[in-house]
């Protein structure tokens, strides 16, 4: 099928207002939240219903065209980077909340619904949706499902995968299936829901998502503790965990990150602080009150210079706003920067931070650190100026070195941003060929033709063997472009 015929077919499915094919318009979709990689999609489709989304995928399948799904386009690993000969399926118009069932503590939503919208919808009844990535005001639930998004509060409450209980999914051949129990626990069968969440759009498109809602805790208390440097702050984190306390969140920012956030949202961080921790406890009042005192004491023991306690919701919101805008705010102190997302065991924190600083010094670059200290998820922001000859290359090198340092400490190359396009070459550093081949088995079961978000997550294009049944040679294999798995 040629492009024009495909466009006509897609227009039949979603209507002309749902198909974008003009070059200037297409170009606005050429990258997601990671602007380093750009590919102009062949066509953009904006379905408004699950049926239209299914029709779109089926049309792609019939035309033999790959597709990439995209939500709000805020991903930081290039997971929604289009393919030039493929269709970009944008789910931003599927933003209805189908059902809120407080008795079963579930909400059933379309993938384009924004993360924060879910909480807004149920806040009046005293409920909320727990995963809260920093981009929660704009990122979509469908994107969260694809990336298994985390957030500041996943230390205590877990990730998207722990809060999604049901999915309606369009498989790459257009088949519609339901995964997970929805409102009921323990559905018999394989936990394909668990495999799907975090698969970065490579297994299909979620068209309806059932989410777990939590009751708002009785008490929430938040403090902002300043330290001389990250070593002391890291020590405070260890002490809190060792005391058997599981805070809702422990976030750390270093001086450079504070400088950026201060410029953006005016939190009034204590002057001269080398690091701050934002520690939040929530739960039953009596427990929170007791443990909060202990956290305060432990921060002091670790050498905290000043401790501010949020007096009210506004101040708490400000503490968080500073933290959550930090990524983008770094744009205020550096022309360009690269957001890294590595994970280390929490206890390795001080060592790895020192290593990062050494690596940065060696390359004459600055690194701002913002991270989820409670679970060892680092977000080093490598600052550079693309205009200065060679800086971008050095920044990329440094970003890679940081990942290797994480892996050396038994960590991971990504805690929440996903592998996407950006990090696929690092995946083999974390996993063996056997490990990756085994993951490919799942891919082959869902998407034997490799149509869903091709070229992401896994480093080399691999084709699914035709087992069972007689084996045929795939054209790409013949052309030497791929090896058969």
């Amino acid at each position: 099928m040629d492009r024009q015929a495909l466009i006509r077919r897609l227009e039949e499915i979603v209507g002309p207002q749902g198909v974008i094919s003009e070059r200037n318009q297409l170009r606005t979709y050429e990258c997601d939240g990671l602007a380093n990689f750009r590919v102009i999609p062949s066509v953009v489709v904006l379905p408004e219903t699950a049926e239209q989304a299914q029709g779109t995928v089926r049309a792609c399948y019939e035309a033999g065209v790959p597709f990439v799904a995209r939500g709000s386009g805020t991903g930081l690993s290039g997971g929604a980077l289009p393919v030039s000969d493929g269709v970009l399926i944008v789910l931003a118009r599927m933003r209805r909340i189908h059902e809120v069932d407080l008795d079963n503590q579930r909400a059933v939503v379309e993938p384009g619904v924004l993360n924060l919208q879910v909480t807004k919808e149920v806040a009046g009844d005293g409920f909320y949706y727990a995963p809260d990535p920093s981009s929660q005001q704009v990122c979509s639930i469908g994107g969260n499902v694809a990336e298994n998004s985390g957030g500041a509060h996943c230390l205590k409450y877990g990730f998207t995968t722990n809060h999604v209980t049901g999915l309606e999914v369009v498989l790459p051949d257009g088949e519609l299936v339901h995964l997970g129990g929805g409102k009921a626990p323990d559905p018999p069968g394989y936990d394909l829901l668990g495999a799907f969440v975090g698969s970065e759009g490579t297994l299909g498109i979620a068209t309806t998502v059932t989410l777990r809602l939590l009751r708002k805790p009785e008490a929430v208390r938040t403090l902002l503790a300043a330290f001389e440097g990250t070593d002391q702050a890291g020590d405070a984190v260890s002490k809190i965990i060792a005391a058997g306390i599981v805070p809702a969140a422990i976030e750390m920012m270093d001086a450079l990150a504070m400088e950026a956030a201060e410029a953006a949202v005016h939190v009034h961080y204590p002057e001269g602080a080398g690091a701050v921790l934002v520690v939040e406890l929530d739960g039953p009042e009596a427990e929170v009150a007791h443990q909060f005192d202990e956290v305060e004491r432990l921060c002091q023991e670790a050498g905290s210079t000043t401790i501010q306690i949020a007096e009210d919701d506004d101040q708490r919101a400000l503490f968080w706003k500073g933290r959550k805008s930090a990524f983008a705010a770094v744009g205020r102190i550096s022309p360009d920067y690269y957001v890294q997302d590595g994970v280390i065991p929490r206890t390795s924190l001080p060592g790895v931070l020192r290593r990062i600083n050494e690596l940065a010094d060696e390359r004459g670059l600055r690194v701002a650190n913002v991270f989820h200290a409670g679970d060892g998820n680092l977000h080093p922001l490598v600052l550079y100026d693309g205009e200065v000859e060679g800086q971008e290359e050095r920044a990329e090198e440094l970003a890679a070195e940081i990942l290797y340092a994480c892996l050396d400490h038994g960590g991971s190359i990504t805690g929440e941003h996903g592998v996407g396009f950006d990090k696929k070459q690092y995946l083999p550093k974390q996993f063996s060929a056997e490990d990756l081949d085994t993951m490919q088995l799942v891919r082959c079961a869902f998407d034997p033709d490799g149509r869903a978000n091709p070229g992401k997550v896994f480093p080399t294009p691999r084709l699914c063997g035709e087992r069972p049944g007689p084996r045929r040679v795939h054209p790409a294999e013949q052309a030497g472009l791929a090896e058969v798995f």
């Binding site: 079963n104 503590q105 579930r106 298994n148 985390g150 996943c154 877990g158 990730f159 995968t161 519609l176 299936v177 339901h178 129990g181 409102k183 009921a184 626990p185 323990d186 559905p187 069968g189 394989y190 936990d191 394909l192 668990g194 495999a195 975090g198 009751r215 805790p217 009785e218 058997g244 739960g283 039953p284 009042e285 009596a286 427990e287 280390i344 065991p345 929490r346 206890t347 060892g376 038994g410 960590g411 991971s412 990504t414 996903g418 592998v419 990090k423 995946l427 996993f431 063996s432 056997e434 490990d435 085994t438 993951m439 088995l441 799942v442 891919r443 079961a445 869902f446 997550v457 087992r467």
Partner: protein
């Protein structure tokens, strides 16, 4: 290299016919002591085309359909080491054959535990994952899928593969660990697992409520769920004589916290019925009884899973409003939507030729229909093989069954891993 070669090396032995998987006798038994030995065993089984079943403590061997074949049973007991306990990181890495009780004992001195409390005393770590076993505290901590962060598996052809890792937060690659949760040995052998841990609660408090009927049970649970209380478990037990039942609400944490919560809960539930905070001795007793499943003497047992708001209707369907109709004791994770029920028939009461068998089949089928109408499912978790032949133990698999079959075909193309045991005859 085939199984006989390994037999010479002592890794595999010929079974004497006494080892059965749900009535199917095994020909060979293997006891690998390392992941590489497990890989050797599976390679050999692949070479010989043997059907393979994995067994840990053996407590869940009766779960699922009887396998079509079970030529070789791989016993994981030899993989019995806790490999790494990173207390500061709240993470543990253990081999599949470690008994859960032993693992908890290892973790206790650091004031930590793996927040899983399935009732089976002999359960191993690998078995808990493969069977997706859980207990009352799942209300607070979730199930295996919420706690597992890394896995090492041995596939049907002997390939050793890892997924996840030692860090709590990790989205690199597919989450194979979750795929293996509850897969019952049909995708591969679970060899090692990495879990996130929780601080062991310093103190507990228990509130009990006598429950006169299903409506009151639902009301009590509804009130707890709408409150800001954070119980670790909400358990409902109704014995074979029927109502009244007993609701046990457990709070765990630091002493001032749990005391305050228990007092609030007692007051809240006091508006529904006769509620009381348990005294010190009673608390111990209540906790030791918690989640115990009285299946041992029952001929068959059922697990119902349903949206928690359906509790009253499900209780009416399964327990009845008045006189019991021959069912055994019922135990429910009342706030989670999971209910276990033993048959009234005792073990051996329903031989294949018993006229009560069709009655039992009808009861199960009817109950399953009613649960499906409420958005839930019913699984026969224990039954003699002849009863399993009469009734699908898993129930209708849903529209993802085709996809599940394709997953199975990719992982086990020769269909040798516990064939027929899983949903839809997988």
């Amino acid at each position: 290299m085939g199984v006989q070669d390994l037999e010479r090396g002592g890794l595999v032995e010929t079974a004497d016919g006494s080892y059965e998987v749900d009535g199917v006798a095994a020909r060979f038994l293997a006891r690998p002591r390392s992941v590489s030995e497990a890989s050797q065993v599976l390679r050999a089984a692949a070479a010989d085309g043997l059907a393979v079943t994995f067994a840990g403590g053996g407590s869940k061997l009766g779960l699922g359909n009887p396998p079509e074949r079970a030529d070789l049973v791989v016993l994981t007991g030899g993989l019995g080491q806790v490999l790494e306990h990173a207390a500061g990181d709240l993470v543990v890495r253990a081999q599949a054959g470690v008994r859960l009780a032993d693992l908890q004992a290892t973790l206790a001195p650091a004031g930590q535990w793996l927040a899983l409390d399935p009732p089976e005393p002999r359960a191993t770590v690998g078995g808990v994952v493969a069977a997706n076993a859980s207990g009352p505290r799942r209300l607070r901590y979730g199930t295996v899928r919420d706690l597992i962060i890394g896995i090492t598996v041995v596939l049907a052809d002997g390939t050793v593969a890892h997924a996840g890792g030692k860090v709590v937060k990790n989205v690199a690659g597919y989450d194979l660990a979750k795929l293996f949760c509850g897969s019952l040995g049909t995708l591969g052998m679970i060899a090692e697992v990495i879990f996130r841990l929780h601080p062991r609660p310093a103190s507990s408090a228990v509130v009990t409520l006598q429950v006169e009927g299903s409506g009151q049970a639902r009301q009590a649970v509804g009130r707890l769920l709408r409150s800001t209380l954070e119980p670790s478990a909400v358990e409902l037990v109704v014995d074979e004589w029927g109502w009244p039942g007993r609701l046990t609400v457990v709070f765990e944490g630091i002493a001032p916290g749990v005391e305050a919560q228990a007092a609030t809960a007692a007051e809240l539930l006091g508006r529904v019925g006769e509620a009381a905070v348990a005294g010190p001795g009673q608390t111990e007793a209540a906790l030791s009884q918690l989640g115990a499943l009285p299946f041992e003497k029952a001929e068959y047992a059922l697990k119902a899973a349903f949206p928690p708001a359906e509790l009253a209707g499900v209780l009416d369907d399964l327990v009845g409003r008045g006189q019991r109709r021959g069912g055994g004791p019922v135990s429910a994770h009342a706030a989670t939507g999971v209910l276990w029920m033993a048959s009234g028939a005792r073990e051996g009461d329903l031989p294949a030729d018993s006229p009560a068998v069709p009655w039992a089949v009808r009861e199960i089928t009817e109950a399953r229909k009613r649960l499906a109408a409420r958005g839930g499912s019913l699984v026969v978790v224990k039954a003699p093989p002849h009863l399993k032949r009469e009734v699908d133990v898993w129930g209708p698999p849903g529209d993802a069954i085709g996809l599940m079959r394709r997953v199975k075909e990719r992982f086990d193309p020769d269909r040798r891993l516990s064939p027929g045991r899983f949903v839809g005859g997988i």
